[in-house]
Symmetry: C2
Subunit: 331 residues, 2 copies
């Protein structure tokens, strides 16, 4: 039976504020390169006052994934919390305009917190260093999870960054129970090595008990399994999760399912802005999987989508992904 949604994503809703800077700027302003760091509103205001002219483009890791699936005309929805403010309206518009279902989960009126935003600093090498003010996205809790919607999902996709919210674990537990209870499956992205360090036990328990498909990159999977040995980390993950998909930058990606293992080469491109590479990788992969393609083909689609998104500023797809897949003989 076809369910209403191929994929429902749950994540931190935010608008990216994208600026270019040099490496010295990161050092001077104590921004750690290449990772996501959480900042409060005061730091957000101060840092924003120092960065150059910016572009505002909707972001949020899982939201980017869902935008990719929607652009491919997958049946998809997103759950994340914004404020009833201009940035919240921008976020909601951009997801819906892409074709995703987004029933805005608004913050209570009168709250001081605003819609989340991420000050993304892009260095000349294309690497992005993210400074995230979670705002209202942080407070997504079980009351914001519609069990009926989860039951309509073939897959849910959980954003690891969400482990940082106070009610995040309860929200995930509710979503997982509703999804699995209706025969749906669970995918998750580890999101960030430092986020894993903050919530290692919760991640580990979920991987062992609830996750059918794991997305990670090399640094994340090593952090998760506390080893410097990448192959050992992959094997440990494969013992926990039915399908493991791990990206490895310009080396492409690995897919492991039981005793089978595939290596998918990356699609070479000029890196303009790495923001969203992993997100669109996951989006294309999940779209392929839920459309009925083999894992290896899903991996090739995923690498193509990642190469598209890093070739321009912003974490949402710009080229027609289906046309790109056709061009490469995948559709």
């Amino acid at each position: 039976m076809t369910k209403r949604f191929q994929v429902v994503g749950i994540g931190n809703a935010m608008v990216d504020v994208l600026s270019h800077c040099d490496d010295d700027f990161l050092v001077t302003n104590s921004v750690e390169k290449g990772i996501m760091q959480l900042i409060d509103m005061d730091r957000a205001v101060d840092l924003y006052s120092r960065v150059g002219p910016s572009k505002e483009i909707s972001g949020g890791s899982a939201a980017n994934t869902i935008a990719g699936i929607a652009q491919l005309k997958g049946r998809t929805a997103y759950v994340g919390k914004v404020k009833d403010d201009q940035l919240g309206a921008i976020f909601a518009h951009d997801l819906r305009a892409q074709g995703a279902v987004y029933e805005t989960v608004l913050a209570p009126k009168g709250s001081d917190a605003e819609t989340g935003r991420c000050i993304v600093l892009v260095t000349p090498d294309g690497e992005r260093s993210m400074n995230t003010y979670l705002g209202w996205s942080e407070y997504l809790g079980p009351n914001d999870i519609d069990a009926a919607m989860m039951a309509e999902a073939e897959w849910i996709f959980l954003e690891g960054y969400r482990f940082d919210g106070p009610e995040s674990h309860a929200a995930f537990a509710k979503a997982i129970a509703a999804t699995r209870g209706a025969g749906g499956r669970v995918s998750i992205t580890l999101s960030d090595p430092f986020c894993i360090e903050r919530h290692r036990e919760a991640f580990a328990k979920m991987l062992r008990e609830d996750v059918d498909l794991l997305f990670a990159n090399r640094a994340e999977i090593k952090s998760m399994y506390q080893t410097e040995d990448f192959d050992a980390a992959l094997s440990a993950a494969a013992a926990d999760v039915a399908v493991v998909v791990c990206t490895d930058s310009e080396n492409g990606a690995y897919i492991i399912q039981g005793g089978d293992r595939w290596h998918i080469p990356a699609v070479p491109t000029t890196v303009v802005d790495a923001t969203g590479a992993g997100d669109l990788f996951a989006g294309a992969f999940l779209w392929g999987l839920t459309t009925g393609y083999e894992l290896e083909t899903c991996g090739r689609m995923a690498c193509l989508a990642a190469s598209e998104v890093i070739s321009h500023i912003g974490a949402r797809p710009e080229a027609d992904l289906a046309a790109l897949f056709r061009q490469h003989g995948l559709l």
Copy 2:
């Protein structure tokens, strides 16, 4: 004596909401191609609900001009009115971060109107069709003009679009008097052929009496002088204004000063998004002029800056304009 500012710009402050669409979308949604049309908040909300995923990038015609001058390290300031909301903060940040002085002229608290925005629809040919909700920018009046700041300007730069506001003419009159009273000079851009039709008499009087340098394009100057004969329009303008600078799309630009006339060829490029071409043209020209370059060199700088801004999405400069000028032997 060097004044504090080379150029002070006065314009409608707004953030651009940039989307791609095809020509059918323009027809279906009654958007007239290639021009600026004023819309109210209801139409803005309705149209926004129909357009695809967007990027928010600070805009505003004169503000783009001033951003160009600031990026060239010219001493420059901007006057325009925003609301104390998130889009207003974005607009203010982007001008200041570029190096311009911007003393935010805020709307009164509690007003319904928001910071102005322009829904820019970019068709595959790179042409932009602009749908402008003026918001608070419309209400910039003489009380918002700081005569002392105008007296510190070598040049002021007036945005023709501003003729649409209820107190715009009085605001311009105050700015012109303060500038000229302190020995400064006045430049203006005609902005749009339909804006000219709405305010022909006011434009004509200002050109005859107050303007030292006129920026226009082919359609605007023909509309201004109500003739289909481009050369006749140029001559009529030259009779009114000491220096006339008129762009002519891929044919480049004409400069007329008294009996002298120069033609500056355009710099060929792939048009990605025409938004801001005229604005950056004026910015580079005014920077060159106030830095001491010959009119012809100013024109070459202007054509280079225009070609830079149309080669990417958004109306603010991205490449280093000074480096571009050096590369072409102009600095």
